[in-house]
């Protein structure tokens, strides 16, 4: 658990300006941590932060439930599953890619010797499908875009643990599987000469969020601290976009252990980030994904706007406008 709780705050009440002294915010967001440290912006931060090297849906959710962190950094799918499985969370920050068509987070890997050049060719193919993961949602989104139903393809259920999809493609166990940019390069490096390719998925997959348990947001001090943090976070995302080489070195090379070349590749592939000051479009796109999941996975219908805490939308907008 964290330090003793601050005063209770209604979710509708205005965010307090300053957290009480001694408030510690526990953050699972290593990339932002590195960006803040490298840019030096961390010195301007007024709140005490305890960093945890935790990312990804399942791990942050686990940590929320164990009250080990206050805020996590994930794509747009984990908050949905957190909600559907009974952990009350709110999205407190949103990020997208400036040029999502040319800088997708995922591409569809195509196994050597399989003839798929566009998503329409997916009909009848074996597709790796990991329900519950962002990759799984992506597959459903792609099928929707391609006008195919789940019955038109063969979904092979397997979890995308580490490079499992890349291996499954390389050994031709599946025809198509979504691959994160970080894996696209190694996949092609290994199997391109056998005829492996990747195609663009044609759907947007660039949504990125910060989310926090509602209980944390109901703590006035923590809420104030998060308000500070999302502001710094927003600036850090922009700093990343503006300093790709420094970020590549500091994060992907030093922190994640990639080679300089791979680090640069990954940063380039993800492109520049934008932090929207209005979330309307972001939420609308998110709702489409939700509806796809509701239909494709029998989830309970959800008005996704209800899990956004839009008080932070304003806080971010204020911070970005104030600085620019």
């Amino acid at each position: 658990g964290g330090a003793e709780a601050g005063p209770k705050l209604e979710l509708t009440a205005a965010l307090p300006d300053k957290p009480a002294d001694g408030t510690v915010l526990r953050v699972g967001d290593p990339a932002t941590q590195v960006a803040l440290e490298t840019s030096g912006a961390i010195d301007d931060l007024d709140v005490d932060i305890e960093w945890a090297n935790i990312t990804g849906g399942p791990k942050t959710l686990e940590a929320f439930r164990a009250d080990a962190i206050d805020i996590g950094s994930v794509a747009d799918i984990p908050p949905l599953f957190a909600h559907w499985t009974g952990t009350d969370v709110r999205i407190v920050a949103a990020r997208e890619t400036v040029d999502p068509e040319t800088h997708p987070t995922y591409e569809l890997g195509v196994a050597p010797g399989v003839d798929v050049t566009s998503i329409e060719d997916l009909a009848g193919k074996k597709i790796a499908y990991s329900p519950g993961q962002a990759q799984g949602a992506l597959v459903l989104n792609v099928l929707r875009e391609a006008g195919l139903s789940q019955d038109d393809v063969e979904l092979v259920e397997m979890q995308s643990v580490d490079d499992a999809f890349s291996i499954a493609l390389g050994s031709k166990q599946v025809d198509v599987a979504p691959l994160q940019q970080a894996l696209v390069k190694t996949y092609l490096a290994k199997y391109e000469r056998d005829g492996a390719t990747t195609i663009e998925s044609g759907v947007r997959d660039d949504a990125w969020t910060l989310y926090a348990p509602t209980a944390v947001l109901e703590d006035a001090d923590k809420a104030a601290a998060i308000k500070e943090y999302v502001a710094a976070w927003a600036k850090a995302q922009l700093w990343i976009s503006e300093h790709p080489d420094e970020f590549a070195k500091a994060f992907y090379e030093d922190h994640e252990g990639l080679s300089a070349e791979d680090a640069k590749y990954v940063v380039d592939a993800y492109g520049q980030y934008a932090v929207p000051t209005s979330w309307d479009d972001f939420i609308a796109r998110h709702q489409v994904t939700v509806d796809t999941l509701v239909e494709g996975q029998d989830q309970e219908p959800l008005d996704v706007a209800t899990i956004y805490d839009r008080r932070f939308e304003k806080a971010i907008a204020d911070a970005l406008e104030g600085s620019s």
Binding site: G57, P58, T85, G86, I167, A168
Partner: protein, 280 residues
Amino acid sequence: MTTLTAPSRRAISSETEDVRPSRRRLGPGQPIRFGGLVGIVALLGAWIVGSATGLLDPRTLTEPWTVVATAETLIENGRLQESLVTSGVRAALGLGLGVAVGLVLALVSGLSRVGETLIDGPIQVKRSIPTLALIPLLILWLGIGEPMKIITIALAVFVPIYIHTHNGLRTIEGRYAELAETLGVTRWEFIRHVVLPGAMPGFLLGLRFAVTSSLLALVVVEVINATSGIGHMITLASSYGQTDIIVVGLVVYALLGVTADAVVRFIERKALSWRRTLAS
């Protein structure tokens, strides 16, 4: 010179008097009937009480009644039975294969130093490496179908069988080998009558680990291209964060594990009834 005393004196004692010198008992004494269940019932009690009093957060560890309800749902829609059957078949096949391979390797390596030099090192290497890390290789060589799953389970199973049988065999008292040599038995008779029974305690201990390993390996293999199975059920539920289903899976694991262990220990008691140990 010699006085004979007739052995006639007979004490006035009730028919069933049974007075024995009271000597401090150092061994554990007689087994308590169904004693093994006490601890498990206590554990269950703690869970129920913890959940009822709110000491255990239901988001972390689902309450027992929710687990029962979830289990009922899973049984109604047939998922649990289906998973059990699928996983059961996989685990059994993997176990059978692993036990057979482990046993043969242990015999070869245990009875010949040449066999040992070749076999033992690679097995130590194998067991130092996380099974998870072997999966990519296994997928490449065996695909993502059932054979890969069964062989992966077998790979997890054969290690404890090998190590325990090898160790059990090597620690058979040397005097029994001497005896066998003077009786002029053939190598096969030696294996059958001396080595196998002598290594049996070790083998059975290994089997206790092997059975659990076969179940645990399900979690690893059923991540890949599985549509049912206990491991698949748990993995899927954990990626959705469905704690209640996970806990149902774990309860099933606990039941299977404890039952299998009890079965092996029962076999142990029967097969090793010739032993006179602290336990008997």
